[in-house]
């Protein structure tokens, strides 16, 4: 492998790693500040991605989709907190793990029901 290719692959790796970091940092924040282990954090990420895709299809505009998607995702987070997570602040971490693991399964099936199982892509807007 040439040095140039190595550098490009290194860049690919760093870029993908930063993407994963974005997700992981949110999880760490929630755990560190709120004391809640949210295993369903990845599901929130998934919800955000699907909102970005389905809304950008509907509005035809990625920026509008992001704006509306953020609002919807915040509302979803608030709803889950009020409904479920609030009850577990004082409880053992194990209960948080149990509940949020269940949420993973529920979100996965809901996603399959609402948006089906195919692969989708979001068009990057032209510069």
């Amino acid at each position: 492998m040439s040095f140039e290719t190595f550098l490009i692959q290194l860049l690919n790796g760093v870029q993908y790693g930063l993407l994963l970091f974005l997700v992981a940092s949110g999880l760490t924040l929630v755990f560190g500040i709120m004391g809640v282990i949210n295993l369903a954090h990845g599901s929130f990420y998934m919800v955000g991605a699907y909102l970005a895709w389905s809304l950008s299809e509907r509005f035809g505009n990625l920026w509008a989709a992001i704006a509306v998607g953020v609002v919807l995702a915040v509302l979803l987070g608030m709803l889950l907190e009020w409904l479920l997570i609030k009850k577990l602040y004082t409880r053992d971490h194990l209960y948080q793990v149990l509940l949020t693991y269940g949420l993973i399964l529920v979100f996965e099936e809901l996603r399959s029901v609402i948006w089906a199982d195919d692969v989708h892509g979001v068009q990057v807007p032209p510069c």
Binding site: S2, T5, Q15, S112, D117, V119
Partner: protein, 406 residues
């Protein structure tokens, strides 16, 4: 301590109730269902296809086209009326044997038709081999169904995964492509498609530089595209389909490889995705056993009839479903509706020439279509048929199927 005893008591109670429910359900399954008379009465067709999820549209298209073929045949099979039993297999291999079992043993269908997903197909093939029920495959290309697991009662009206890819191997050499990198999802369809291309490409003097794989249905192509760019082959052969194919075509163009390296694939790479990819697929050549624009009266008539009846455009999957209907109708005509005459029915289906929108074709000795493979090129939003890549292709060769005399 007392809490654990209470828990034990509750658990015991739950198990008892569960056993009671389970026992009742098992008993219900043993109750005899109505016995179907074989000579008279309706023919029961079990349509086990995906009607939801990623292949849902394909399942609907196949069923619609199948029914169109029956309708053109007078709405009957061998003079008998038809009862359809539909089952959504959800493209879930884990439920495949249970679902097929239900249709064959509980609902007692006369013919089992399906499916799309090769993983589900393996479950259906197993049940078909065990029960001997007549089984028609309108899509899944898994090679085993007409090679190692072939059987007299199993017919396929679509293709074997390696079949559409095979002629591309020689076409690549004809175009002056000397070395190729292959890239595909590592699952049945991907592996068999690449095998078909490699077999023919190497046979005609081509060299395979490297085989790249990624797990199905992963679409992180970035690292692999970088590697391809570093290897600098003359051409790249890929297998992707559906949404994954659309993303690959866009990523291929974004990586700057379009126009620099020749991209090749079986027709599934560019079927149904051209609207989503914009110009990223322009000029790409693929091989497939069908093209929407085939200029024959039969294809034009079929496309018109289908669009009129169902208000949607047919695709290669619909053609396969249509041919499944034609095949069954021809067989049933030969035995005058007596589906009990298995031997004669199978013999008739083996001999019939199907007048398909894709062109005329017959079954191979392994019960897979011996058919023309077309060369297509993406022009605008269309896969334009620019020629025939290979005529009357029997691949994988029927000799790989050892069928007992029947």
């Amino acid at each position: 301590m007392s809490e654990s005893r209470k828990l034990n008591a509750g658990r015991r109670r739950f198990l008892q109730d569960g056993a009671a429910v389970g026992g009742a359900a098992a008993l219900a399954g043993l109750l005899p269902s109505t016995v179907m008379a074989q000579g008279a009465g309706k023919i029961k067709l079990g349509m086990m296809l995906p009607y939801s999820g990623t292949y849902g549209q394909i399942g609907v298209g196949i069923t619609n086209a199948f029914k169109l073929a029956i309708a053109e045949n007078g709405g009957k099979l061998g003079g008998r009326d038809i009862e359809y039993v539909t089952l959504d297999d959800e493209s879930d291999p884990a439920k495949a044997t249970d679902n097929a079992n239900r249709l064959v043993n509980r609902d007692k269908v006369d013919v089992l038709v399906g499916t799309v997903h090769s993983g589900v197909q393996m479950g259906m093939v197993k049940i078909a081999r065990d029960s001997g029920v007549l089984h028609i495959i309108p899509n899944a290309g898994v090679a085993a169904a007409t090679t190692s697991l072939c059987a007299p009662n199993i017919f396929r009206t679509s293709f074997a995964n390696a079949q559409p890819a095979y002629p591309m191997g020689k076409h690549a050499v004809d175009k002056g492509i000397k070395n190729v990198v292959t890239l595909a999802w590592r699952y049945g369809a991907g592996e068999e498609s690449v095998e078909g291309f490699k077999d023919n490409f190497v046979k005609h003097g081509g060299k395979i530089v490297k085989d790249l794989w990624l797990p199905f249905p992963n679409v992180e192509f970035q690292a692999l595209l970088t590697e391809i760019a570093a290897l600098k082959p003359d051409g790249v052969f890929v297998f992707f389909a559906g949404g994954g194919a659309a993303k690959f075509l866009r990523d291929w163009q974004a990586a700057g490889l379009k126009g620099k390296i020749t991209l090749m694939g079986a027709g599934f790479l560019t079927d149904g995705v051209l609207e989503a990819v914009g110009g990223a697929a322009e000029g790409i050549e693929t091989t497939l056993h069908y093209g929407d624009g085939i200029e024959t009266p039969k294809n034009k008539a079929f496309r018109l009839a289908f669009a009129k009846a169902y208000k949607m455009q047919p695709d290669v999957y619909a053609v396969q479903g249509y041919d499944a209907g034609l095949l069954l109708a021809a067989g049933m005509k030969a035995v005058k509706g007596d589906i009990g005459k298995k031997k004669e029915l199978i013999a008739a289906m083996e001999k019939v020439e199907i007048d398909s929108p894709r062109g005329k074709w017959r079954m191979s000795a392994a019960h897979n279509p011996v058919q023309d493979i077309y060369l297509r090129k993406v022009v605008g939003l269309e896969n334009k048929v620019i020629g025939v890549a290979q005529r009357a292709l029997d691949y994988p060769p029927a000799s790989l199927c050892k069928m007992p005399p029947h």
